[in-house]
């Protein structure tokens, strides 16, 4: 009763605010009477009941098409650079130092840095949509669906932010007043594919589909699957843990405008900078650990050549049974394990384990025949769903202020990952997909 009253009060406040603005404006400002503005023209179609969502999905596809295909030559250039440095380092007299630079830095960190272009272009495209005023409309269009499925319309903005990084996405849920709506949004936010998972998708899709449009399509499917799972889980939570209807959504639209170069580049840089900082700190530290574990005991591994004799292989074989049913080996298990620290590390781990010397990680994965189309796709699905990175878990703990919900978010995501990846493998096998 009290909540309903507060929601109505929001609407009354908004109406009164606009009435006051209108009465003041009519006294101090005269202008030509406007029948339709460009904003009206665009809103009529973008917010259309039937076409609004297809238009949104088309623009989302345009973002991915641009991001992944346009960044390819730039990725090749960075790959060439690290390949050159790796080749140069291999010639060093100190074997341990040579292995550290070639396998640890160039193989591991290099394979993560290669993904700076797609991440930069993804943020650039999202910044264009945001600065143009379209993203607010997308939230409104999606609200109709989200409300029916138990999510609050205001959840859409944190969800979209989750595409960049789940941490600001979860922090943005502070704008949701209703505690139940907020908790549901926090719990499903890790299902939105953050940019850290992007390198894993790009790598595995290029391994199993050989790049091009099919690879881009499989990445698009990951993002759509993330949204779909978030909606399904929100509905499940609404029907079980947080019974009741979501509160109403009130949103003020900014006018459409042509995005300015300065705004777009600032927004892009602010977000892309975060990836570079992470690569230089967390990912770099983890890659040193992975390199150490994969190269030592030095004598037994022959300087990291015989990886089966390394510490990391022993650990990998220990946890391999968990992922064996999906057709993945111990290296995939280890990559996923270290991915808990930061998702980009999944790629970096493959780089350190396979991509030694001048060989790049993608070619090495293809040569090793580690993934078929089906098992590779299931690996992408698993990466999308299983536990968010350790920093995100920390933010969930802080924002929910509850150990119970933090542990619950980890457990349900792991269980869901096993179920969905298992279903992918099962359905794929039934359809005869290799």
């Amino acid at each position: 009763m009290g909540e309903e009253f507060l929601e109505d009060l929001d609407v009354v406040f908004a109406e009164k605010r606009y009435e006051t603005i209108k009465s003041i404006l009519s006294q101090v400002w005269r202008r030509k009477e406007v029948k339709w503005t460009f904003t009206d023209l665009l809103d009529h179609a973008f917010l259309h009941r039937g076409l609004g969502i297809p238009i949104f999905l088309s623009l989302l596809w345009a973002v991915f098409l641009f991001t992944f295909n346009f960044s390819e030559p730039f990725m090749v250039m960075i790959e060439m650079f690290f390949s050159w440095v790796g080749g140069f380092a291999s010639g060093l007299e100190n074997e341990v130092l040579a292995s550290f630079i070639a396998d640890g830095i160039c193989g591991g960190l290099g394979s993560v840095f290669v993904f700076v272009p797609p991440i930069f272009f993804l943020f650039l495209a999202l910044a264009v949509l945001e600065d143009s005023g379209y993203l607010a409309r997308a939230a409104f269009v999606m609200d109709r669906v989200m409300y029916r499925l138990g999510l609050h319309g205001r959840s859409f903005v944190p969800m979209i932010m989750g595409f960049g990084c789940n941490i600001p996405g979860i922090m943005a849920t502070r704008t949701i007043e209703n505690e139940n709506d907020r908790l549901i949004t926090i719990l499903v936010n890790p299902l939105m594919s953050c940019s850290a998972r992007l390198p894993v998708y790009v790598l595995i899709s290029s391994v199993i589909f050989g790049g091009g449009y099919l690879a881009a399509a499989s990445i698009y499917v990951m993002y759509i699957l993330g949204i779909a799972l978030a909606i399904v889980m929100a509905l499940t939570f609404r029907k079980t843990l947080f019974k009741g209807k979501p509160s109403h959504f009130l949103l003020e639209f900014p006018p459409y405008r042509i995005p300015t170069k300065r705004n777009v580049l600032t927004l892009t840089w602010e977000r892309a900078k975060w990836f570079l900082i992470r690569a230089g700190t967390i990912i770099f530290s983890v890659m040193i650990i992975v390199w150490f574990l994969s190269s030592f005991p030095w004598e037994a591994t022959g300087g990291g050549v015989n990886i089966e004799a390394s510490y990391i292989a022993a650990f990998g074989h220990l946890i391999e049974p968990l992922v064996k049913p999906f057709g993945w080996n111990w290296m995939a298990a280890v990559a996923l394990f270290f991915g808990f620290l930061a998702k980009e590390v999944v790629v970096g781990t493959f780089g350190a384990l396979l991509g030694g010397g001048e060989e790049m990680v993608r070619d090495s994965l293809i040569e090793a025949g580690m993934f078929t189309q089906l098992t590779g796709f299931a690996f992408m699905v698993f990466t999308l769903i299983y536990v968010p990175c350790v920093a995100t878990v920390g933010v969930i703990a802080r924002e929910t202020n509850s150990a119970k919900w933090t542990i619950f978010s980890i457990v349900y995501l792991i269980v869901l990952a096993f179920i969905v990846a298992g279903a992918t493998i099962g359905i794929g096998r039934l359809l005869g997909i290799p």
Partner: protein, 140 residues
């Protein structure tokens, strides 16, 4: 009636032609394409072409009556066709760059000249219509 009917009828006919073209190419891309006519198989892009077609065809009735509602869908259809047209022009450049880097065995501008590009070029006259109706958006 928001703007002269004659203007609207011309735009309606053009929107219908564009909608029909998008409606033809979209399903062909979804179905796997026709190599002979340089129409690639591209499921998701094919679906988006259907969305563009829907916008253009949805615009026809409103435009015929001289209503801004019709112009709204025409403008949105044009924006979508511009977005996809420009993206595929950029991708053509990216493919050329890959060839120069030695990562692609061949680069053919003709193969890269996808339907989205020529459909975008065919859509450009829509800008003239939008500029023309701009004056009717304000009641002087």
């Amino acid at each position: 009636m928001d703007f002269p009917r004659k203007l609207g009828k011309t735009a309606a006919v053009y929107a219908f032609i564009l909608g029909f073209l998008y409606l033809t190419i979209g399903p062909l891309e979804v179905a796997g394409g026709i190599e002979k006519y340089n129409i690639p198989g591209d499921f998701w892009t094919g679906l988006t072409l259907l969305v563009v077609a829907a916008n253009y065809l949805y615009a026809v009735r409103g435009l015929w009556r001289g209503e801004f509602k019709g112009a709204s869908f025409l403008l949105t259809g044009f924006i979508l066709s511009t977005v996809f047209g420009l993206i595929f022009i950029l991708l053509m450049g990216a493919d050329g760059l890959l060839y120069l880097l030695g990562e692609a065995e061949e680069f053919s501008p003709i193969t890269n000249f996808r339907p989205e590009i020529w459909l975008f070029i065919a859509s450009t006259p829509v800008t003239a219509f939008i500029l023309k109706i701009k004056r009717y958006m304000y009641r002087v």
